[in-house]
Symmetry: C2
Subunit: 324 residues, 2 copies
């Protein structure tokens, strides 16, 4: 069995070896740049760990895992163009460091590079892996489009929000789990359970992000607290608050959402206070716990020994306690 | 044996049946829009015809052919963003009709849709088809980057220009030929000959485009004459003229390239006159003829009966005589 740390090291080595030192440099250098900005390599590491649940030898999963990480970074590059984001992992985004055309084209190249790695999957698993990946990657595009659409509408229903974050975030984690399982030789039923495990873990993770933005500790969270509040982002918290507020609370919420000129801290405090009145922290935490429990149930139902599931169980438990 | 027209009809039907009537509409409707703008479907039709050289049954090539056409259209969508192009096939481009973010994301979706179709290639051919496609699609990105780079430099060498148009245009035609051959069961050597056939045909085609811009007949060419001259596009003609000009001709050429304020017709006439003095039409035509001859030689060397090659030979001959 490999540990999460082992998996991260294998992925780091494979990414370092990708043949991206090619010409023209304007196409390839941005790919190397974004991939070398790091990140925790959670997706490809989970792919290896999922493979390891079913097979001692994880070699068949490595190329697909790297492809999934390249794809994830490709979506970051194009999302950053669409969101006019200037900073990614503390460094300038590609369109900022080079220009939007270079970010667009090198992003395209990364999508192709992702498929190139996935295509190296051993023959018996190639078609099933591609089927999962093709479906998932289109869903990720759907999620991004829904996310952009939601910015322009006033009210988003809880159900629609959960669907959007599932598409934008969870399906890729789920695909990592399923592709790992497939390349480990899992039977269809277990591969599907692993997919569901990924979906529920992803939903819990995203809702944690929403919660930590408001109730996290700035020092441990590592990000500014209250950014979503300041930008009126339609998070799970805001959606539930709008849903549960009485008329005076609703008026107060709407006032803060509409006001253009405000003191940052005052807005954060006012909305947080409304969230407290409405028990939003507890409501969100309950939802998160439910997704984590369901994820654990999915993993428990996978037909493999407890020992083989241990690393993923530990990972899930660690995630459920995260404060950052 | 199927005719070019048969092939075009098969492709039209397959494209009409693509499942693109999905939600969110902002993602899928632009894909349907650009694919329905038409075009002659040359690439996927050639894929079917190339398959038909080696196999009476062309079913194994159809999904890949459609994937290649979707990929071609994906590159048009993203190229149009990069070139700020407002019109494509007489209609507004996607970023013009919707917005740049929608063009970017629906383009990404088309790249994924292309792979989704290619992934439906029957198992024995799947890996070789993906290998050709992965290599080619990255080369197309390289070609687009070189094209953008060349806009910013003063002098482009003939060799670099030919490499750029090979990457931007020919390799995709070549991949269509090779993927058609592979799905028709061709042996490696014949598949490689078909690839070379596509490369040489593509180069001839692109140089014809350069030539027709200056020496074409507006009525038959269907496009404005002299657009490349007016925009100082570094075509094969301009590159050869700059290479062969004496000092006074060079001064005249440079004057017209640098001048910001000019009469359109006067510039076209002056540069055309310089091209005439320098025999640029003949030099270019000779190069075109050489590529067509080499393409024919490549096709002749393919181990298949004359009868099976007839449709592609006719196509090549028709292309060599094109005035539009």
């Amino acid at each position: 069995m490999i540990s999460l740390k082992n998996a991260q090291e294998i992925i780091a080595q494979a990414i370092a070896k990708l043949p991206l030192e090619n010409e023209p440099g304007e196409l390839y250098a941005p790919m190397r740049y974004i991939l070398d900005l790091g990140g925790k390599r959670i997706r490809p590491s989970l792919t290896l760990l999922a493979c390891n649940v079913f097979s001692e030898n994880i070699d068949a999963s490595i190329n697909a895992a790297v492809g999934l990480e390249i794809f994830h970074n490709f979506t970051l590059v194009h999302d950053d163009i669409m969101d006019y984001a200037a900073v990614r992992r503390g460094q300038p985004t590609i369109h900022q460091k080079w220009n939007p055309n270079i970010a667009l084209l090198s992003g395209d190249g990364m999508c192709i590079a992702a498929y190139t790695e996935l295509s190296k999957t051993p023959a018996p698993y190639l078609k099933p892996v591609l089927d999962v990946f093709n479906k998932t990657s289109m869903e990720v595009c759907e999620g991004q489009q829904y996310d952009m659409n939601f910015e322009k509408i006033e009210k988003v229903a809880e159900e629609d929000y959960l669907k959007m974050i599932a598409l934008k975030t969870s399906v890729l984690l789920a695909a990592c789990m399923k592709i790992g399982a497939i390349t480990g030789g899992a039977v269809q039923e277990d591969a599907d359970k692993m997919y569901q495990f990924g979906i529920n873990m992803g939903l819990a993770f995203q809702l944690q992000d929403d919660l930590l933005d408001v109730f996290g500790d700035e020092a441990t969270f590592g990000k500014e607290i209250g950014k979503d509040i300041v930008s009126n982002k339609k998070t799970f918290l805001l959606i539930k608050a709008l849903e549960n507020a009485n008329s005076s609370q609703l008026a107060e919420l709407r006032k803060w959402i509409q006001i253009k000129d405000f003191d940052r801290e005052e807005k954060i405090q006012a909305i947080t206070s409304l969230y407290n009145q409405l028990n939003i922290k507890e409501i969100t935490q309950k939802k998160i716990d439910l997704y984590f429990e369901t994820a654990l149930k999915n993993l428990n139902e996978v037909k493999a020994s407890e020992e083989r599931k241990l690393v993923l169980k530990d990972f899930l438990e660690g995630l459920s306690k995260r404060k950052f």
